[in-house]
């Protein structure tokens, strides 16, 4: 979409006005600074998704809409988790982070801050694997997606 003030609120407003749900939304400018790319995760029947796509296309600032889940695609989300880490738990948490290919990016004597990247379901799995009472804080970016292979989304 056009990288213009207010474009994001049109998308968000459309979803709330028509009763569609937004599971996650991530947006930033692209290599062309006049354009922003947004990855929006939503759910609904085929009819609802068809309407969502058509309604988004109608927004003047939206340049192009594709449904990444129509084809092969790659999806990544970044999560930062601050967990309680004292005593024997410190090693256990480090091992778990390694298994999920996470990195510990900040350390105090009582806590770790772990960075995990992957599909949204992988991040969910990591949170499930960690003892719930140890989690102090989480922050997630929402998914970003891109098509697989040589196929390119061009304007």
């Amino acid at each position: 979409m056009e990288n213009e003030a207010g474009a994001l609120s049109r998308v968000a407003g459309l979803f709330s006005a028509r009763g569609y749900n937004i599971e996650s939304l991530s947006v930033a400018p692209t290599e062309d600074p006049t354009l922003s790319r947004m990855t929006l995760v939503t759910s609904g029947s085929d009819e609802v998704i068809e309407q969502v796509t058509k309604q988004l296309n109608k927004l003047i600032e939206v340049v192009k809409v594709i449904d990444l889940s129509d084809g092969n695609h790659i999806e990544r989300e970044l999560m930062l988790v601050k967990v309680k880490a004292v005593g024997a738990d410190r090693d256990e948490i480090k091992r778990l982070a390694d298994i999920f290919r996470g990195c510990i990016i900040d350390v105090t004597d009582k806590s770790y801050t772990i960075e995990v990247t992957g599909t949204s379901s992988k991040l969910d799995a990591f949170l499930e694997a960690i003892d719930n009472s140890a989690v102090l804080e989480t922050v997630r970016t929402g998914a970003s997606g891109i098509g697989r292979g040589d196929w390119v989304l061009k304007v």
Binding site: M1, A5, S9, G13, A17, E47, Q51, I60, E61
Partner: protein, 567 residues
């Protein structure tokens, strides 16, 4: 080097360049520089309304009756919030319109300044698009884009919010000849493969119906529609927004369809085998409950410029996205080139069935009544104006009777708020219609409840000598509310009685207009004739009508098309 102009001058020069001859507005602090420039020129005429809602409705009526873009000018804050009802009305009915609003100076935005509102935020859900012009260098191109977006594709209102300091700054001015936007490219031609499929389906039809809406009117496709329907000898029904798209006096016209549509139109919709929907959107007031609609099998062709209107409430078989007249031309061309015809025996059988439905005479009413029946007033209005008036309406029972009993043979003659259902629309819209058609006969069919929602515009009509004929069907009730309360709420008429009504005659006279009260059926015709003889005067005709009259047929909310309540 071009001469340097202020933002206010640029705004007016842009309007002139767009060929705007008439705008509707109300001044205020944030737009004073723009008004100052309006004052210094005479190409753009400004009509001063008495409330911003009326400015937008008037611009709307102007646009609907002329196919030009309507323009309204309002100030910041309350000027804009008053305009919102009008903007939402135009949005729901896809009316091309540009609204220019003043805004507090850029350095005051966000500081809760006097008369500041987030105009772009407030209007976002009810405009096709809106802009805040932060920089004078963007002003001309933004206004160009606004007119382009408003008038192309599926039309709609576009708002341009201009901060006061931008109207003061100076800049060299050239009006862009053209505008192109990578993110906005409305489709014109329909997909030829789809049009071919449509032709095949049309040729296979045994019980066809052509169902058309406001899209025919907005895209000026009445000529092509009429040619297509005549050529095929198919029955044709129009929605409330589509009346006039096909001549109502033609044998092939089966009336309006929907909640208060005719028995024959609704039955034909329900039991057809091929439905050709053009510039219509299968909304809840048209097809009722979609589940009930699905009880019968039929194939549907849907032609519309807006892809999101297709398969929204009803799944269709052959969607064609494109500009309606262009698609119809293509369709007619292909049909002419084929040697086949639809099954004429089946079509004759279908017409026989439709004629049987017609015999129900679903719009009958008591013609011997000693109290004035509202239907009779509309019929007489039709006769006296020879079907050639511009008719606006407000919202409620009178609106439905106007739609049922005034036979519109031409497009852009029937002007009403179909989508939003805005009471108060009728008189200001009629002002816009009269200004766009100075020689036209303009009648506003209204009720005593609706008319009071913008009654202040009697003053505007006086100032500009607009000789409207206000046909007030006065039953001392919010009639449609009363009807629903009678049918669905056990005759409990909660707050629907209009107590303490003004004396409309004296009210009209106090503004310098002519008022007439008509209480007997035998006086209706004479009063209307006299009113239209007063060519230069606004005449307020207060018809005292039957309080108990209901609009029939009626498809109750949530019911199916064949589940009508009949007289």
């Amino acid at each position: 080097m071009n001469e340097e102009l202020t933002g206010a001058e640029i705004t007016i020069r842009c309007l002139q360049a767009e060929g705007v001859d008439c705008i509707f507005g109300y001044p205020g602090g944030a737009v004073l520089f723009i008004y100052d420039e309006l004052f210094k020129q005479d190409k753009v005429r400004h009509i001063l309304v008495r409330h911003e809602q009326a400015a937008v409705h008037a611009a709307d009526g102007y646009a609907r009756s002329s196919n030009k873009v309507g323009v309204a000018l309002v100030t910041s804050g309350p000027g804009v919030t008053n305009a919102v009802t009008g903007i939402a009305t135009a949005y729901m009915d896809s009316i091309p319109m540009v609204v220019i609003s003043g805004q507090v100076p850029t350095n005051a935005i966000g500081l809760d300044a006097f008369q500041e509102v987030d105009t772009v935020g407030i209007t976002r859900p009810c405009v096709k698009h809106n802009f805040l012009v932060n920089d004078i260098s963007e002003l001309a191109i933004t206004i160009k884009k606004a007119f382009y977006i408003a008038a192309t594709g599926r039309p709609g209102p576009v708002l341009v919010d201009i901060p006061k300091d931008v109207t003061q700054q100076k800049m060299s001015f050239t009006y862009p000849e053209k505008v192109s936007m990578r993110s906005y490219n409305p489709v014109i031609r329909g997909n030829l493969k789809q049009v071919k499929k449509a032709v095949e389906l049309i040729l296979s039809a045994q019980r066809p119906v052509v169902y058309t809406g406001g899209g025919i009117i907005l895209s000026d496709a009445a000529k092509q529609l009429t040619e297509l329907v005549k050529m095929l000898d198919f029955p044709c029904t129009n929605t409330l927004m589509g009346l006039g798209g096909f001549p109502a006096t033609d044998r092939q016209f089966i009336g309006m369809l929907g909640m208060h549509g005719t028995y024959e139109a609704n039955m034909a919709m329900q039991y057809c085998d091929v439905l050709i929907a053009i510039g219509a959107r299968f909304d809840d007031r048209v097809i009722g409950n979609p589940k009930h609609f699905y009880n019968e099998n039929r194939k549907i062709i849907h032609i519309d410029i807006d892809p999101s209107s297709i398969s929204k409430r009803v799944k269709v078989d052959i969607p064609i996205v494109g500009n309606v007249p262009d698609v119809l031309k293509e369709l007619i061309k292909l049909l002419k080139s084929t040697k086949e015809d639809p099954d004429q025996t089946a079509l004759a059988e279908w017409w026989k069935q439709i004629d049987l439905w017609r015999e129900r005479d679903c719009l009958k009413f008591d013609r011997q009544s000693e109290i004035i029946k509202p239907q009779m007033v509309v019929e007489k209005l039709y006769e006296i104006t020879k079907g050639d008036a511009f008719v606006t309406s407000d919202v409620g029972q009178h609106q439905m009777w106007a739609a049922q009993f005034y036979k519109f043979d031409k497009p852009r003659r029937w002007i009403n708020s179909g989508g939003l259902g805005t009471m108060g629309f009728g008189m200001p819209a009629a002002m816009g219609v009269q200004l766009a058609n100075p020689k036209g006969k303009v009648a506003c069919i209204t009720g005593e409840a609706s008319i009071q929602m913008c009654i202040q515009e009697l003053s505007t009509c006086k100032q500009y000598k607009l000789p409207l004929k206000i046909v007030n069907l006065n039953n001392r009730y919010m009639g449609m509310v009363r009807q629903w309360q009678e049918f669905f709420h056990g005759n409990r008429y909660a707050e629907s009685y209009m107590d303490a009504l003004p004396d409309f005659i004296k009210l009209a006279e106090s503004y310098g207009h002519v008022g007439m009260r008509i209480e007997r059926p035998e006086d209706v015709e004479g009063a209307l004739q006299e009113a239209f003889k007063l060519k230069d005067q606004l005449v307020f005709l207060d018809f005292i009508t039957d309080q108990a009259e209901n609009v029939f047929p009626m498809v109750p909310g949530g019911k199916g098309l064949s589940e009508m309540i009949l007289v």
